[in-house]
């Protein structure tokens, strides 16, 4: 993997000059490379993994919805995916192999809100055959980052 990308993926808040030191380029070169990656769509965006549970005022419920669909005659799965991903409530859409077609991650304030979204927005889409909703009860790891984990640094030998 490109070194800049591998550094950036795990440490998006490093400055260009810090990344430059790590990969052995100049700050300007790093800035240019990142701009190129953004322009060409290799870097699609930047995301922050937040443990919403820790913020009491925030209510957030997430569900994974399995969708079975009938591919459309001309556009197959593409136009169905486009319809689904247009909703703000939808966090991710993936075409799957196996027992169903789309895995859709939906976020809302309450269980009720998500249930209504599925019933009123997803299920009625032309070509959708069935939906199965799985609510996420607890997140342990997301995008490679541990959530709510108490991994303490146990290293403590005295003479090293």
């Amino acid at each position: 993997m490109d070194k800049i990308l591998s550094v950036l993926k795990d440490n998006p808040r490093l400055s260009d000059s810090q990344i430059a030191a790590m990969v052995g380029l100049t700050e300007e070169e790093v800035g240019e490379r990142i701009a190129d990656f953004e322009k060409s769509g290799v870097i699609c965006g930047y995301n922050t993994v937040i443990d919403w549970e820790k913020l009491e005022e925030t209510e957030k419920v997430t569900a994974i919805i399995e969708l079975k669909v009938t591919p459309r005659k001309d556009t197959g799965f593409e136009s169905i995916a486009e319809e689904i991903m247009a909703f703000d409530e939808v966090e991710s859409v993936n075409l799957m192999s196996g027992g169903y077609d789309f895995s859709v991650c939906v976020a809302g304030k309450t269980f009720q809100e998500i249930a209504m979204f599925v019933a009123k927005r997803l299920a009625p889409i032309d070509s959708v055959i069935s939906t199965t909703t799985h609510f996420i009860l607890k997140r342990y790891k997301q995008d490679g980052i541990l959530i709510s984990s108490d991994c303490e640094d146990e290293r403590g030998a005295d003479i090293l």
Partner: protein, 392 residues
């Protein structure tokens, strides 16, 4: 009331405790401490290696191993030294598997040194050589290494310290705490001084897999004529992130290894069996893991060296291990003062350089066996510290 002090072995009683200790104690009492003080990898042992250890337990391999270590492991160690350093060691006679590199150091010194013998210890260096040598009744002769010589020992310095009582030279490279590396040319110069003497060498190569800038480690035993006078110490702790498994080894001339094995047999019996099984797997299929960890350390090394230099410190670029050893003399503080104040004010723990020998005064050891985020936060706090102390 028993006066315990009067009952104890005088040398053991009077050996000073490690200088790193008090900082650990203070740091342990504080909240939100960012530590850059630990001398072991932050990686976990690669899964396939752990798994072989687990499987060995499931299969009930819970007995002692042969004293010198499993033959399969001795074979793998010798084949590793052949593969990496083109050295031929006989797995039947030239290797003993120990409880960490530390035990191998202890065995080598106890096996070679008589009371009154002189042991040459380059400094700054790992804190165990001096006390162990002193426990055998040796006279320790420090060889000061300097920033100007990139913390390498030089032929001149070595020559000055040799007397007719000199028994052993410790060669701790890649070096903890400085990160210095001795390249082939530097080792040749040392070898030239030793040829024709009876001085033995303990080459502590525990960081041999962690060298950077494309400079592979050169084993001192591979220098012409040096194998016969060198005991190589290495292990699994740093290269495979296996510190807690406590497994290392020594390679050397058969008659010396035989006596080391005898001492090991009486004192320790054998190294942990589970760890030995895991180590066989590490040597057979762990090269990729080492490369991955080395790349990660290298990026952190560059980040932290550049970070310290931007803060205005003179920071030697280390070519091995996972420490930097920046000079803090420009702050006007002693090593102890700097570390104590930084810990107190900004809750960042680093180790004073004088813990590694008097000549380390004016320096600090900073470990980069920590995540990039952790290092970044530490650098941020050190910057604030310097600003508040009006040092930048």
């Amino acid at each position: 009331m028993i006066d315990y002090d009067s009952l104890m072995n005088v040398t053991a009683r009077d050996v000073p405790p490690s200088g790193i200790r008090k900082f650990f104690d203070i740091a342990a009492e504080m909240d939100e401490v960012i530590s850059l003080s630990v001398g072991e990898p932050d990686f976990q042992t690669p899964w396939h290696v752990r798994n072989v250890g687990i499987e060995s337990l499931q299969r009930g391999h819970t007995s002692y191993s042969p004293n010198r270590g499993f033959t399969a492991l001795c074979r793998e160690i010798c084949s590793y030294y052949k593969r990496k350093f083109d050295l031929d060691y006989d797995f039947r006679t030239d290797v003993v598997v120990t409880v960490g590199g530390s035990e191998a150091i202890d065995l080598a010194i106890r096996t070679l040194v008589n009371p009154g013998d002189e042991v040459l210890v380059p400094q700054p260096s790992f804190v165990c050589y001096v006390p162990i040598a002193e426990l055998t009744g040796a006279k320790v002769i420090p060889i000061v290494t300097t920033r100007e010589n990139e913390f390498r020992i030089t032929a001149d310095e070595l020559r000055k310290k040799i007397t007719d009582r000199t028994k052993l030279l410790i060669l701790p490279y890649p070096n903890n705490p400085t990160g210095a590396v001795m390249r082939r040319g530097h080792l040749e110069e040392i070898a030239q001084v030793l040829r024709g003497t009876n001085i033995m060498v303990l080459a502590d190569e525990i960081y041999s897999e962690l060298t950077y800038n494309g400079i592979p480690h050169v084993s001192f035993a591979s220098i012409d004529g040096m194998k016969e006078r060198t005991i190589v110490v290495n292990g699994f702790s740093k290269s495979y992130a296996m510190t807690g498994w406590r497994l290392g080894y020594a390679l050397g001339p058969a008659p010396i290894i035989a006596v080391m094995t005898k001492v090991h047999q009486y004192a320790i019996m054998c190294a942990p069996t589970t760890s030995q099984y895991a180590a066989i797997e590490a040597l057979r299929s762990g090269d990729g893991d080492i490369a991955g960890m080395r790349d990660e350390y290298d990026m952190r090394r560059r980040l932290i060296v550049s970070g310290f230099r931007k803060l205005g410190f003179d920071c030697f670029e280390p070519e091995g291990a996972f420490y930097i050893f920046p000079c803090i003399k420009n702050t006007g503080m002693s090593s102890d003062e700097f570390c104590e104040r930084l810990l107190e004010k900004k809750h960042v723990a680093v180790v004073p350089g004088n813990a590694f020998g008097e000549c380390g005064e004016g320096y600090i050891r900073v470990s980069y066996a920590y995540s990039t985020g952790h290092i970044k936060e530490a650098l941020r706090r050190i910057r604030l510290f310097l600003k508040e102390e009006n040092l930048m």
